[in-house]
């Protein structure tokens, strides 16, 4: 394999979740579920960066991008196709908050396929587990790196930087096939063009049924976190500005 040297091209799989947008109004219906009213769904923010990175790699080195989604909705898969993915696979399974189940389902489907690279998002914006990518890599016995901030194909390998704490980064080289999870800001995701949407209409979304019996966790209860609340300043904008200035003076800020 001589990927990146003008030789063979890259076969990339991207994981994309249709997730609740954090801008949504989140209200509890009962202890185990959220009121669907007021919820907005979209492609998980980190996965926007993942699909963009995959398409860029394909544009640079040639190859194919396949997007995989676990769940019953197709909007996010359609969006990825419109951005430039070639194929989509839908696994119509509700995995709730169990990242282990999600990873197992994807593993079942992906182990039947040939690939050089799997790209996931670092984290889902709703569940915040930051697990599915690393679990999948581990289940497939693939080298991996999380929180990736740049990718370069070099001599049939992947040279990436990954984010550490406090602004530091680490540079590592991964043998292919491998998996990366991308951190936000790795690129500037493109907007979906009208042309893209038109072209995506003819692209197929393949449905693959998977059964996963094993469960590791169960949601017991959801609730609003107990927090100490700030003292609220109210009034018109002008009144608020005046009160703020008083506070600044009192605290010696100005």
């Amino acid at each position: 394999m001589k990927i990146g040297n003008g030789g063979e091209s890259l076969k990339i799989f991207v994981l994309a979740k249709h997730a609740i947008d954090t801008e949504s109004e989140i209200r509890l219906k009962d202890e185990k579920s959220i009121d669907e009213k007021g919820l907005i769904y979209d492609i998980n923010d980190w996965d926007r960066y993942a699909i963009e990175e995959a398409i860029r790699l394909k544009e640079m080195h040639g190859g194919e991008v396949t997007v995989i989604g676990v769940g019953n909705n197709e909007d996010t898969l359609r969006k990825c196709l419109a951005m430039g993915a070639d194929r989509a696979i839908k696994i119509p399974l509700e995995t709730g908050m169990d990242p282990y189940k999600t990873a197992l389902a994807i593993k079942d489907v992906i182990s039947e396929e040939n690939f050089d690279l799997i790209i996931a998002g670092l984290m889902s914006q709703d569940c915040n587990n930051a697990l599915v990518g690393a679990l999948l890599a581990s289940m497939l016995n693939l080298p991996f790196a999380t929180a990736v901030t740049s990718v370069k194909v070099e001599d049939g390998k992947l040279r990436v930087t990954r984010e550490l704490e406090g602004g530091y980064q680490e540079e590592v080289i991964l043998q292919l096939p491998c998996l990366i999870t991308v951190q936000s800001g790795i690129n500037e995701p493109r907007y979906v063009s009208i042309m893209g949407i038109k072209r995506a209409k003819s692209k197929e979304i393949k449905e693959v049924d998977v059964k996963v019996d094993k469960e590791m966790i169960e949601l017991e209860r959801m609730y609003l976190p107990p927090v100490k609340k700030a003292e609220l300043i109210t009034g018109s904008a002008d009144e608020i500005a005046e009160k703020l200035i008083e506070i600044f003076k009192e605290k010696g800020v100005i």
Binding site: D126, Y168, I173, L219, E220, A230, I233
Partner: protein
């Protein structure tokens, strides 16, 4: 229960989260033990420090452990775990723990929950964590297993006591030739303004909506004699340079005034600014977690409040 805590050495220093893991281990161990693991090339000094808070410290020194490599580290840890059979394994929820914990979980077929802020073994195994970046909290019931893996949020388990334990030197050689190779550490970029030195910070989040609105924050910062910083999405979008980012993957700041404008208050952001002397937040969402760390809060639109404030400040000056 035997509770193992994998200590974190970063930039040749013991991260304080390591002691927090041991505090949690001591809390849940019942009549078992809190055992620390420290790996690296030369970690005696850290083992000594950790022994204050643990019943036992497993010290694993090896030249191949000098630079972090998940495959080598996991291989060495698995060798120890297969012999010692821990009931619970704790990692920090760090860039490193986020790679190692799932690897260990898969190899041991152990359930895993990440970024936990509470753990209770009194009636089944229950872990507490946030979802929606701090907006909701969940209790998670973990299915029965021989071993459990958790990554623990930093800054939560600060209380604990010194117990004093022994240090055990173990020789473990890695048995894998890794497919991932460490190359180098890259230092943070240095810009013209060091926000960590500023007394007054006007910090903007996704609520600023557009690059052109950064000017508004600049104007306010000027009127206050401060500097502009931002949350991650603002930096990701390229509206402010990387060295202006506040948070765990950016800078930690402690100004006299931190004015948070349109920032929701995700944990990763709060870790970088919670020790500021005075925190004031403006956010249109009354439930935004930022109001949990601010002394004063304004539930409102930054595009109404900020211009009014700039005007009043400029009046005072002239």
């Amino acid at each position: 229960m035997r509770v193992f805590a994998v200590a974190e050495i970063r930039m040749n220093e013991l991260d304080p989260v390591s002691v927090e893991l041991l505090n949690l281990a001591n809390e849940i161990k019942a009549d078992g033990s809190a055992e620390a693991i420290v790996l690296g090339k030369d970690v005696s000094e850290f083992a000594n420090e950790l022994s204050k808070y643990s019943d036992k410290v497993w010290k694993i020194e090896n030249d191949s452990l000098e630079n972090y490599n998940p495959e080598i580290y996991a291989d060495v840890l698995i060798q120890l775990f297969q012999k010692e059979k821990p009931d619970v394994i704790l990692f920090p929820n760090s860039s490193r723990g986020a790679e190692l914990a799932p690897l260990i979980s898969t190899r041991l077929d152990a359930p895993i929950v990440t970024d936990i802020v509470g753990l209770d073994f009194s009636n089944g195994v229950k872990a507490k964590r946030y979802i929606f970046q701090g907006k909701l909290m969940v209790d998670i019931l973990v299915k029965d297993a021989d071993t459990y893996v958790f990554t623990v949020r930093q800054g939560v388990f600060k209380e604990g006591k010194e117990i004093g334990g022994e240090i055990v030197d173990v020789k473990i050689e890695p048995t894998v030739s890794p497919a991932r190779q460490f190359i180098s550490i890259i230092e943070p970029e240095v810009g013209e303004v060091d926000i960590a030195q500023a007394d007054i910070i006007v910090s903007v989040g996704r609520g600023i909506e557009d690059e052109s609105n950064i000017e508004l924050a600049e104007e306010l910062a000027k009127a206050l004699g401060g500097v502009v910083a931002g949350s991650r999405p603002v930096i990701d979008s390229g509206w402010l340079p990387k060295d202006r980012q506040v948070g765990i993957s950016g800078k930690t700041v402690k100004p006299k005034l931190y004015l948070a404008l349109g920032i929701s208050g995700a944990f990763q952001h709060i870790m970088g600014m919670k020790d500021s002397e005075l925190i004031i937040a403006v956010n249109k969402d009354p439930e935004a977690p930022i109001f949990g760390v601010a002394q004063y809060g304004i539930v409102g639109d930054i595009f109404e409040i900020v211009p009014a404030l700039i005007e009043k400040l400029n009046q005072i000056k002239s």
